[in-house]
Symmetry: C2
Subunit: 352 residues, 2 copies
Amino acid sequence: MTQSTGGGRARTRRVTLADVARRAGVDKAVVSRVVNDDPMLNIRPETRARVTAALKELDYRPNVAARSLRTARAGTVGLFIPDFANPVYAEIITGAESAAAERGCALMVGSSTAGRGGAQSYLDLLGQGRVDGLLLAGGTITDEEQATLADRGLPWLFVNRRGPGAGRHVVLDDELGARLAVRHLLDLGHRRIAHVGGPAGADTAHRRRDGYATALRSAGLEEDPRLVVQGSYGPGSGVQAVQKLLDGPEPPTALFVANVTSAIGVLSALRARGVSVPDEMSVVAVHDLPLAEHLIPPLTTVRMPLRALGARATRLLLSVPADQLVEEVVREPIELVVRQSTAGPRQGPRTL
Amino acid sequence: MTQSTGGGRARTRRVTLADVARRAGVDKAVVSRVVNDDPMLNIRPETRARVTAALKELDYRPNVAARSLRTARAGTVGLFIPDFANPVYAEIITGAESAAAERGCALMVGSSTAGRGGAQSYLDLLGQGRVDGLLLAGGTITDEEQATLADRGLPWLFVNRRGPGAGRHVVLDDELGARLAVRHLLDLGHRRIAHVGGPAGADTAHRRRDGYATALRSAGLEEDPRLVVQGSYGPGSGVQAVQKLLDGPEPPTALFVANVTSAIGVLSALRARGVSVPDEMSVVAVHDLPLAEHLIPPLTTVRMPLRALGARATRLLLSVPADQLVEEVVREPIELVVRQSTAGPRQGPRTL
DNA sequence: CCCAGTTAGTCAAACGTTAGAACGGAGGTG
DNA sequence: CACCTCCGTTCTAACGTTTGACTAACTGGG
């Protein structure tokens, strides 16, 4: 194939329903109903054949703008995330994207990093009618933003985060994920297990912390508040958490980190302090990513079904009426992926 | 604020231009021109005030579908990437997103991971009129896809990748980036410098390899083909590359890796083989990411202006007519970020 | 043979916006 | 005072689809 010289050939007039209709010798209404598989349509097979032939020959494709205008639906769902750089959201996006495509919808992803104004400016951009609904993944939404959202009359859904009070969200069983991770550490024989948590505002952080607490309790252990450090899900906060824990009175032998991204910082800080993983410190984190396998040492993680989360949320957004509650926990399996960052605690005290 | 009970209040009829016009006591044409800042509009200040007041009071926002239908422009640009999980694209997206927002456009990002059919199905989804142009970042586009693209009459632009033959692309100075990296290694005293490259099909990979070759030559060194390994920009390929290089006859003392992502694999493989970085092997990679600082050891990188690339590409796509060539190299500064993965070569042979 | 009911379509009116053309009045010019 | 020009606005016809209402031709039953 030779590439055309520019970014597109001379703009040839679009082929419209009317063109197809003319060619097939029918009314455009018929063509429209054929295109949309209208079940109410009665049509002779022969006529249908003529129409489909004309459609193919002219390579007709519907004008989404006209369709949206008429039907008042955009065929697009919006997904708002805090940051594209966070690989956790990449998984959610991918899931959402395929679920949307499955339904013939496009996905429009926006982040708060770009616009100065956070969600607000994104909402403005969506204007009226650009999307049929909005998935709000992670991050925090201000009251003002939430008001705007309500004013727009758009169906929305929190993803991986429960809104304050009301119930339109789909989340994962973070509590279970956390329990699996901590249980693994307990099974290895650890007793002093610290938790590098997420930000105070994050709902997932609460649930993971709850899972941590539950797992400890069910092993007959008391939770030591000095072993719980709040972070921000970023590598930097992992570094700080390690400093704090190692400088504490009775350092832990294992770390349950609420997020892979902070685990990267955790590993790097441990290394910097000369603490060997897993010999002197075991580390397990929530979320499995391709990257985890290549950290040093390869990181033991809990694989959360993030794609399924994105997909499920999209499907719910598109199917559940906007005035109904949605409070769903995605039940896809959560698995522990054991790699080399976890081991039993050192037998006795030993100097490096 | 109390949260409303559902995902949206009862769908209240949208406020339209006609509503605003009625309220302001003018024709909707006037309102339209006011909304769009039509420079051809002659209007009494008093009338304009009435209109803007009405706009505000009714909280009017234009219906994008109707507007698109009338103007035949979507106000959206599409960006197609191979994979959301690659943080390099995250940077490009972020740049594109803000440039689009700046122009009042929305950005629609799609990846080939979701749809089974790669770009093809994405193009189908865009249908006619969903986007005004398409940015194609990285990855490879098949001939068939390219034909579809041309048929659609959409302006497109390759980003970070030159198309085969024709000239509509905006790229970075990868050659310079590579030279900076290799020069750094040379300055440290390295003479046997290997290259872990990108995939054969990738244009960036070629340019980085060229930069590598140039830097070596300008230092009076001969390029040793046994020191050049082809990879795939993924962590896994970094692992394999290391195996191959270390098992070779005369292993290098430094590695120039074409991509951060593969560098992660490289570091992990070196570690697994017991090769200490930077004492026994220096590593430098193209692309700086927040993550690089937290690798073990913190990775020396070349910071490429990926955001600027995304932004520039978006602006060009929106401003340059589809039938003109675009061949631009983004000239934002490229900097070497020295961290701890590079050092001078070991003085003499020494057993571990 | 007439009416009811189906079949296979056609007709036309929206959806909300934009943009070119038209238009009534005021002010200036010959 | 007739004519032209500018100003400030209004009118109107699209843009391409969808969808409820309508119809013309058949078919079959009484």
